[in-house]
Amino acid sequence: MKNAFTLIELMLSLVLAVVIIGTLYAGFRAAVLTVSVTERLALENRLIVAGIIAAVDEVDSWASLDRPNHTPLRTNPVGGFKVLTPSGWKPPYTGERTYEWGGRDWASLPQPFTPLRASWPTSGAAGTIGAGEDASGLALSGVYDPTWLVNDPRTWYRLDGANWSNRLEFHEDQNPFGNDALFSGAQSSVRVESRADAGVQGDTRWPVAHTWSARQTKGLAYGLGFYGLFSYLPANAFLDFYDNDERPLSLGRGLVNREVRFIGKLGINSQIAHLGDTAYAGTMENQFSGSFHIPAGYGGGALFSGAERAGTRSQWLFTNHLGISGYPIGANNETRRRQLVLHRKMSGSYGRESEAGTYALLLTSLSFPTDLIAQRPSHWPQVTAEVRRTMKWQAILNICYVRIIDPINGRMTQIVFPVTGTTLRGARISRGLDAL
């Protein structure tokens, strides 16, 4: 008998072979796809890891805001305080202003990475100084002092922080403790006058007993912006000092509290204004424009550290928030202006919410993600890393955002985490910017 397949055997063999080959093909195809998916997931994992490492490194390096060949926050101010005389202000907001509307002077103002040698005003004062006015507080004497020992009387707060800073209540005749401006202020002397109907005292200048604390605070606020001010001051330093003559006002005392004490309660519009938009865009200086807020559950005047009463650095950071921002390479002047406005801003949320509102807007406005792989294959995921630096809830918050976007399916994964690390002052010391 011939040793061969029968037709049925051959047909069965072929069928089985087709089944086996089909299974094999399907298995091979699944294996290839699985390998591809694995490679893809592995690529995403490694990019996420790279993003996390980059974000954590950024917390300490501050490279996105100041690095070789990109120093958006180092300016060359002309020296001395810019002093502008506004028009159209109504009491009590009358007097010299330091910043121009809308942050138009962003390029000539000191910024957070400007060396103190250039930003600390030690001579000259731009703007209008009337005859007989005291310009000494405008051109600060001395230099930045990093010591701030608490046993040093110069660091002590000497004003009446409980006073409500309605200008009329500051009049010496209504102030139960007298004219605080005689005790402490940024200028060397204070103009002393009585009410127009008192007729017992003339218009004279008296020396101010203590100027160190006021001038340090004022110099830091001007030289570094408010984020820098908060980063440099001790936790319990009062953000309150007398400055600026109120000479045009007949009922004014010699000096009024300035810089961080007057924050207007403007309502919802100011939430937009703090970003530099809308009609409130001019609100570069917070004493006239920022909004503030009382978190839910905390009482009004008894707790509020904002506009009317003096407060410490920590108090301010409980009820208000601020951030530090730069701009990317190639940004136009409008973007630069909008970003650097934030350095002269403190904001809160108007109403009874503490997190919604301006803080969310601030976080958004601080977003400048770095694309870790700018030149990548078109099908590769995009991974970005960034650190948004704010001060809020009495603390410095470095919030890292790592984001990966898959161009194939459009899926976006974001990892957000806070990291404790180098502060602005630490970053500046590393760069030698505090050396005098």
Binding site: L149, D152, F318, S430
Partner: protein, 376 residues
């Protein structure tokens, strides 16, 4: 028939080989992913050590100097420090001769006790110019541990404890101390229980050791690479953090300078040195300079703030002239007086805000390299 069986075998082997290759590819890739993610774990571990070191510097400014009787477990000398930089005027406490000068100011380097006596011995931590190291691990039961029980006196259900009628009798202390469970149910007057609570159980939990450490060096101000704008000497520290098993020893020479310390790394000195060097090279180490400040960071200062009368309708400032029993600039409720709530503005008159009585940090600075001269 033989050839057909062979063909099936070949096919089966091929499929198995393909599966094996696939598994190998998975394993290799997973291992690669794990290795790349390991650096993130090390970063996180090091950052945790930075937090631990910062907490240590804060607490050691005042705490940790009391003396506990080892027999009774009672505190016999409740000394506290007055901070790394003493906030008191040196002359007021009769210590003007011990003051140091910096930037035209004089101050006392602490921590010192109430009378101004230093709480350190010259040349040993926490004297300036010295360092401490803290290898981190978990104790089985730390000293003074509190049982993590949020409701030691929970309201009993009627079904299980009908005799209590649903009344939450405060029969257990809250919080509840953690002590040797063999000593029975907590008895507040039990001396053995108290001693056990004070001592804890220092046995190290396996697996918790070798994951991280920090060490702290207190700067003298004379370090060559320390900028003068770093702040007053005595208040600045170099914090070194690491994620490995070297236990915070700076180098092998430091290990050898401590009698017997080498034995933690090997059975003999040569082996221990080799292991230490390998572990040291594999570690992630970072250096930070920080300045401690006695300035507290809470809202203690608002305790003086205006006490609003419960009938006050003024939200932001007192209602001056409303009467002697009404608001005043010069009265205040005590801290945490949460019971005083204005009926009109839903406000709490005194704050219950975070406080920090062990000081704050004025800055944190990551150093690009270890400080010169081994000053860390």
């Amino acid at each position: 028939m033989t050839s057909r069986r062979g063909a099936v075998l070949i096919i089966a082997v091929g499929m198995a080989g393909m599966l094996a290759a696939l598994i190998m590819a998975f394993l290799v890739r997973m291992r690669g992913d794990a290795q790349s993610a390991q650096y993130v774990v090390r970063l996180a571990q090091s950052r945790l050590m930075l937090h631990a070191a910062l907490s240590y510097v804060q607490e050691a400014s005042r705490l940790g100097y009391a003396q506990i009787n080892p027999v009774s477990g009672l505190c016999t000398d409740p000394r506290e420090g007055y901070g790394w930089i003493d906030p008191r005027d040196p002359s007021v406490i009769g210590r003007a001769a011990e003051a140091v000068a910096f930037s035209g100011r004089s101050y006392l380097i602490g921590p010192r006790d109430r009378t101004g006596n230093p709480l350190w011995t010259a040349g040993t931590w926490p004297a300036v110019g010295t360092s401490m190291r803290a290898p981190m691990y978990r104790h089985v039961r730390p000293p003074y541990a509190v049982r993590p029980d949020m409701t030691p006196n929970a309201i009993p259900s009627a079904e299980s404890r009908p005799e209590t009628f649903g009344i939450p009798f405060l029969i257990r202390t809250d919080p509840t101390p953690e002590f040797d469970p063999s000593l029975g149910i907590h008895n507040p007057v039990s001396a053995p229980q108290r001693l056990s609570w004070v001592r804890g159980d220092a046995e190290v939990i396996t697996g918790s050791a070798g994951l991280g450490w920090f060490r702290v060096y207190r700067e003298t101000g004379g370090e060559a690479d320390r900028p003068i704008e770093s702040g007053p000497p005595g208040a600045t520290f170099i914090i070194t953090v690491g994620d490995g098993v070297t236990e915070g020893w700076r180098d092998w020479a430091e290990v050898m300078a401590t009698p017997g310390a080498w034995s933690a790394f090997g059975d003999n000195i040569a082996m221990a040195a080799s292991i230490y060097e390998q572990m040291s090279a594999a570690e992630l180490r970072m250096w930070y300079r920080v300045e401690w400040s006695p300035a507290v960071g809470g809202n203690e200062d608002v305790a003086y703030m205006v006490a609003q009368h419960v009938d006050s309708n003024r939200d932001y400032h007192p209602n001056i002239g409303a009467g002697v029993d009404k608001d005043s600039f010069y009265s205040s409720f005590p801290v945490n007086a949460s019971g005083y709530i204005s009926a009109h503005v839903n406000s709490i008159n005194s704050p219950s805000l975070p406080r920090n009585f062990v000081g704050t940090f004025r800055y944190i600075q990551r150093l690009k390299r270890p400080p010169d001269g081994g000053a860390w």
